[in-house]
């Protein structure tokens, strides 16, 4: 046991050094000797580490779908997310509006290394239906968000490459590319801007398999919850090919509620309303 102490001490020194450097250069600090791929991965890991420990959350989502002509339609749903440290997070989407899908629910058990498990609850038939999760590129509720845009961005789902730092509004952002590991993804790459203050995603550009700029997501109205977790209150996705857009407005964020595993099961799904 005693042999471990010197190593601990040097780790401690490194940590202190990191903190001091952080104070000078802002977070994060990445060594010059790392490759762009390593820096990219490090940013993704740091982003995930920052968000770790939120436990669970509930929130309300209003989706406003706008077509090229400016016609709007709205969706309202409730979202519940359970953090799973050793695997992908579990999430539950319950639809309130439009009324014909009222009470319909989608349960997702996310996985880091394999396809997610998904079940759909159809209240009219009281039927819990296992559905395939390979529909990554499919539209979520007819919106400009694909299923893969809605799933939690686990580090393992992409490979990364750091590009540069540049100003973004009043902040400075790191810009990196990430490449989906899943071959079912409709994207060849995504370019993501994250501010250096708190690694909040500010903008994501999506490029399709032919490398055409397909969509842009802009995240605004960040609020801090529990002094630690930043969440955007508005997410705007613009599709450059169709001219359509979708705005997701998040309200009623609640962290560390009494949700647990039991609320994210097939039997729990039958109780949804």
């Amino acid at each position: 046991m005693t042999g471990a102490y010197p190593r601990l001490r040097s780790l401690f020194r490194l940590a202190v050094l990191y903190l001091i450097l952080s104070a000078f250069y802002g977070v994060p600090v990445y060594s010059e000797s790392l490759t762009p791929e390593e820096i990219g991965l490090k940013i993704a890991q740091d982003t995930q580490a920052r968000d770790q420990g939120f436990g669970n959350l509930t929130a309300q989502q209003t989706m406003t779908l706008r077509n090229k002509q400016g016609q709007e339609s709205q969706r309202q749903l409730r979202v519940k997310i359970l953090e799973v440290l050793e695997d992908g997070d579990k999430s539950l989407f319950v639809f309130d509006n439009p009324r014909d899908v009222q009470g319909t629910a989608l349960l997702i058990h996310g996985h880091k290394d394999t396809s997610d498990d998904q079940w759909l609850y159809l209240p009219a038939l009281k039927r819990v239906k296992r559905i395939s999760s390979s529909n990554q590129s499919g539209s979520f509720m007819g919106s400009e968000f694909a299923y893969e845009d809605m799933s939690s961005p686990e580090v393992e789902k992409f490979t990364y490459m750091y590009l540069r730092d540049e100003p973004c509004g009043n902040l400075t952002c790191t810009v990196m590319e990430r490449y989906p590991v899943n071959r079912k993804s409709s994207y060849s790459r995504q370019v993501i801007w994250q501010d250096k203050d708190a690694l909040r995603a500010q903008k994501i550009e999506y490029y399709d398999r032919k490398n055409a700029h397909l969509k842009t997501l802009t995240l605004t109205g960040y609020k801090l919850y529990l002094d630690r977790y930043w969440r955007a209150s508005e997410m705007t996705m613009v599709n450059h090919l169709t001219g359509k857009s979708t705005v997701i407005t998040w309200t009623d964020y609640q962290f560390q509620t009494d949700l647990d595993n039991r609320d994210f099961t097939k039997t729990g799904l039958r109780r949804i309303r």
């Binding site: 396809s115 296992r130 539209s139 097939k266």
Partner: protein, 418 residues
């Protein structure tokens, strides 16, 4: 037409609703929600009726509200009455209590228990062609010949679930009779089914205590359920009898036997493929020739989906199922040896436009049933549905299809959701 046990239940539910209402007014902490659906329907049968007095056009209105109450202590009560008025067939104008149950739940270790007391609907199964394993609820056949709609069932339903899966116990103290079209209704047999005076094998008649158990779990991409049922069959044998209540008319009297049934339902979900299986073994039931015959039956199927076809948002699915019943032509249902092929198109647009179409073909007789359904949202509140149900190549020998050979129909439904 309300029957006495249902009347009792309706009254009980009414009483509970009033009691809950009173509590809410008294300021007790009970949350409540009201929502539901009103449907306006028109069904048109283009061919002339086989029997006198059957109209070609049936208009209907359906009211299905849902009342939900939840207390701060954690229990909830759900109430869903159902009311239909039909312009053509007085028997199709009917009321039902789809759901009226208390839900209680709690924790056991890592898992949980759940108790549902009252009238509820329970669905088991995975395939599309018909509900083979599903046995808890009676079919509200008069609603639609596809046997998808179910009547409420009185039950005590306990669930214990955890990492090991879910184990469920059902105690079913009351049996519901299947609903059949009346004399003026289309889609009826040549003899009218007298569903007001069924006969039962059990001396306790419809109050025989039935039991069922089920265990279900998923292992990665594999979902499986095994079930056992012991009690009154939901599928009646129709026996021709001279009816005293109907002045000596020859009618079909439903006879409900005591049966035992093992069931298994499973689905393997891979990327684009779904593989499905439902199988049962049923003991102590009679076949179409009124001879007692234990039997096995199964449905196997597969579904393949092409996602985002032709660069659009639409998904296109094709499915195939084979239904087999080892009794063959003596089977009491139409799925003795049938193939179903189907397509499903989900446009994934803002109107949630969907098309489902299937063709069912009997391998013994040439009888075929073709269905195409089109669904579309109109606004936040309104949605519409158009359906063609068509029978063709019906053989005279095919005694289950022959009486309804002229009853293909086109139906338009307009739904208001609130």
């Amino acid at each position: 037409m309300l029957r006495s046990p249902l009347q009792v239940l309706t009254r009980a539910a009414w009483f509970l609703t009033m009691a809950l209402g009173a509590q809410i007014c008294a300021g007790s902490e009970i949350d409540h929600e009201v929502f539901g659906q009103v449907r306006f329907e028109n069904r048109w049968y283009p061919e002339n009726a086989a029997y006198p007095g059957q109209p070609d056009l049936a208009s209907g209105i359906v009211l299905e509200p849902e009342f939900y109450f939840e207390s701060v202590e954690g229990w909830s009560f759900t109430l869903i009455p159902f009311l239909r008025h039909d312009s053509a067939d007085p028997d199709r104008s009917h009321a039902d209590l789809r759901e009226a149950y208390f839900l209680l739940l709690g924790e056991i270790g890592d898992g949980e228990w759940e108790l549902r007391l009252g009238v509820d609907r329970v669905f088991w199964g995975v395939v599309e062609s018909h509900h083979l394993v599903d046995i808890i609820n009676q079919t509200d056949l008069i609603e639609h010949p596809d046997e998808e709609v179910e009547l409420g069932q009185l039950m005590a339903h306990a669930t214990w679930s955890g990492n090991f899966g879910a184990a469920e116990l059902f105690i079913l103290p009351h049996h519901r009779e299947r609903t059949y079209p009346g004399r003026k209704g289309r889609l009826r047999s040549s003899l009218v089914v007298d569903d007001d005076h069924p006969s039962y094998e059990s001396g306790a008649k419809e109050w025989h205590m039935d039991f069922a158990v089920r265990y279900s779990q998923n292992f990665g991409p594999f979902d499986i359920g095994v079930s056992f049922f012991d009690g009154t069959s939901r599928d009646p044998l129709l026996q021709p009898q001279v009816s005293e209540q109907r002045n000596g008319e020859l009618v079909l009297v439903p006879h409900y036997e005591q049966i035992r049934q093992f069931g298994i339902d499973a689905q393997l979900t891979t990327d684009e493929w779904l593989f499905k299986l439902e199988a049962i073994h049923r003991a102590d039931s009679q076949n179409l020739r009124y001879v007692e015959e234990d039997y096995a039956a199964f449905v196997v199927g597969a579904e393949y989906t092409f996602y985002s076809i032709l660069g659009t948002a639409a998904d296109f699915g094709v499915l195939g199922e084979w239904c087999y019943d080892e009794r063959g032509k003596d089977a009491t249902n139409i799925f003795d040896d049938d193939l179903l092929i189907g397509i499903r198109v989900a446009f994934n647009d803002t109107q949630n436009t969907e098309i489902f179409s299937s063709l069912l073909r009997d391998r013994d007789y040439s009888t075929s049933a073709f269905v195409i359904e089109f669904n579309r949202r109109i606004s936040d509140q309104w949605s519409a549905n158009l359906e063609l149900f068509s029978l063709f190549n019906v053989e005279k020998k095919d005694t289950q299809f022959d009486p309804i050979r002229r009853d293909s129909f086109l139906e338009f439904r307009l739904n208001y959701n609130f």
